[in-house]
Amino acid sequence: MKSGKAADDGNVGKARPSTDHLSEPNLKDPHVILSLLEADQTVAAKQRMRFGRRNLSFGAKALLWGLRVYVVAMLVLVVISVVRAIHSVP
């Protein structure tokens, strides 16, 4: 779970003395790369730090189930509609 993300944002971009003055950054230096990216922007950091499951309230579950039923019902109607349309073509 990521926390304190907003607090990190303020620091990003301020501490970049190693790159701001250069015409080209030395991207062979891992520190330069890490100084340019955000806390969880590297592939390794993203693999290590994952968002955990959230607890869905009853309302949220009801909403998702309702929309799921809606989509399935509508897809059946789409098939009916298209079959009718195809049969109506002279």
Binding site: M1, K2, S3, A6, D8, D9, N11, V12, G13, A15, R16, S18, T19, D20, P25, N26, L27, K28, D29, P30, H31, V32, I33, L34, S35, L36, L37, E38, A39, D40, Q41, T42, V43, A44, A45, K46, Q47, M49, F51, G52, R53, R54, L63, L64, L67, R68, Y70, V71, A73, M74, L75, L77, V78, I80, S81, V82, R84, A85, I86, V89
Partner: protein
């Protein structure tokens, strides 16, 4: 350096920091370098350019924020011009030829406003979390809901991809190009775009192609629109469409589906992540999305205006495919205008084929936890590139199968997009209101009101379609 990266550095080799090239080449630095991928290096290079553009040199050169915008523009423009795809332009053309200038001109602008509200949320989600949409849904809602969500996406994407190749075939067919050659050209463009091994290059190639969506503008000008009527329609939403209620409802749905679809949410968020957009770039991301929406709305309205001559001459275009529109328009907008129209259909198919196959590949990569970045070389992310190219090849092959149900697919693709959109919006709204994920960037009240309004409108449109299907005589003229 931020705290988590610092932690990674220190866990790799203590607190010592190399400050010179010699130190960077030391064995300790090599350990750290092992943690970094080609993707990280490319993204860092892009971020450095953004940092430099912010640094004031560009402003000193009198260019203002233009260089910064040039670096940050991309996902928003691409998603909207990508959504001005072959079936969408076909829907706009059918609208213009059936109803002329009137209600649908402001309606198209309204649908793009809905799209803008939705897509802005994806910019924030991607910039803040650095995760794609599919990955976030799986992480926060679990595998069960994730599979439903990805199932809707993959079905919709594949059907839409088929229609893009129908557009590519039809557009080039106007110039006498054989279907197999046209489809091969489409695949070749997709292949060239993805083999650059660099998100930035892929984005610039696709943007350069996308700008040709503007071909519908000269085609519309050649149709000599009645500007006073256009102005009146924009202001009054009049005249209202007349005729079969079910036909009007289908075109309403098709026009909505031409602007807000699930693949756009997944694509833009993943593209924002792949581009390396950070929270401080959100304003630029919003501008990028706004520019995309304005351009796409203008080009969509141009497609409507280009086909208005068919309305004035009473030509029934209800069963027209893309090339037939161009051929039918030739007497009124000339061969050059018809050729521009056909090229526009070809272009819309190509750009959407690139964007939609990339959207599928991003989603698969995020769910399968394999490399999913255009900054990765093929050898590092071959499943990602295989899905990308494989889905395009499968769609292209289907278009070439004799007697394949292509009309069936074209008929349903935009409707399915509208019907699948409410669940996608529900996940999006739950995520952008999740303070654990978004921190201070959660939705504000008015953003939730507009987001919920869009969702309710889409559900109402779907229910209207359902009622018209169950009770076909209900909307009969």
């Amino acid at each position: 350096m931020n705290s988590a990266n610092k932690e990674m550095v220190e866990s790799a080799f203590g607190t010592a920091r190399p400050t010179t090239d010699a130190a960077a080449a030391s064995p300790l630095a090599n350990n750290l370098a092992d943690l970094l991928t080609h993707e990280d290096v490319d993204r860092a290079r892009d971020r450095w350019r953004v940092t430099r553009a912010r640094g004031g040199q560009a402003r000193a050169a009198g260019l203002g924020k233009l260089p910064l915008f040039w670096l940050l523009v991309g996902p928003g423009v691409l998603v909207f011009l990508g959504e001005n795809d072959a079936p969408s332009m076909l829907s706009y053309s059918a609208t213009g030829s059936r109803f002329g200038v009137g209600f649908f001109i402001p309606f198209v602008i309204f649908t793009f406003l809905m799209g803008l509200v939705v897509q802005e949320m994806t910019v924030r989600l991607g910039a803040v979390t650095h995760r794609g949409h599919a990955e976030l849904i799986f992480d926060r809602f679990g595998r069960f809901w994730g599979l439903f969500s990805i199932g809707d996406l993959i079905l919709g994407n594949f059907l839409t991809l088929v229609t893009e190749f129908i557009g590519i075939r039809a557009g080039l067919g106007f110039f006498g190009v054989r279907p197999v050659i046209a489809v091969a050209i489409g695949l070749a463009v997709v292949f060239v775009a993805i083999t650059t091994g660099r998100y930035w290059t892929w984005e610039r190639i696709t943007l350069a192609l996308a700008i040709f969506n503007g071909l519908f503008v000269p085609a519309a000008l050649l149709a000599r629109p009645h500007w006073q009527a256009v102005g009146h329609a924009l202001w009054s939403w009049m005249p209202l469409p007349h005729g079969s209620g079910s036909e009007i409802l289908l075109l309403l749905l098709a026009n909505i589906g031409a602007t807000v679809t699930p693949w756009m949410i997944f694509f833009q968020q993943s593209a924002v992540v792949d581009k390396g957009i950070q929270p401080r770039d959100i304003s630029a991301g919003r501008l990028d999305t706004l520019v995309g929406a304005v351009l796409a709305a203008a080009f969509g309205i141009a497609a409507i205006l280009a086909t208005v001559p068919l309305f004035h001459h009473g030509i029934d275009a209800s069963r027209f495919e893309a090339a037939q529109f161009a051929e039918a328009l030739e007497p009124w907008i000339g061969h050059a205008g018809a050729a521009l129209f056909a090229l526009g259909i070809f272009e819309s198919g190509i750009v959407a084929a690139i964007a939609i196959s990339t959207s599928s590949a991003y989603a698969f990569g995020e769910v399968l936890r394999t490399g999913h970045s255009l900054n990765r070389p093929v050898r590092e992310a071959w499943p990602f590139y295989s899905i990308l190219l494989g889905s395009a090849c499968a769609a292209a092959a289907l278009v070439l199968i004799p007697h394949a149900p292509l009309v069936f697919i074209v008929l349903i693709v935009n409707v399915i997009a509208v019907l699948a959109m409410p669940p996608a919006l529900a996940f999006l709204l739950l995520l952008v209101n999740d303070r654990d994920v978004m921190g201070e960037h959660v939705n504000r009240a008015w953003e939730n009101v507009t987001g919920v309004t869009v969702t309710v409108l889409l559900i109402c449109a779907g229910i209207g379609f359902g009622l018209a299907t169950v009770f076909p005589h209900w909307l009969a003229p």
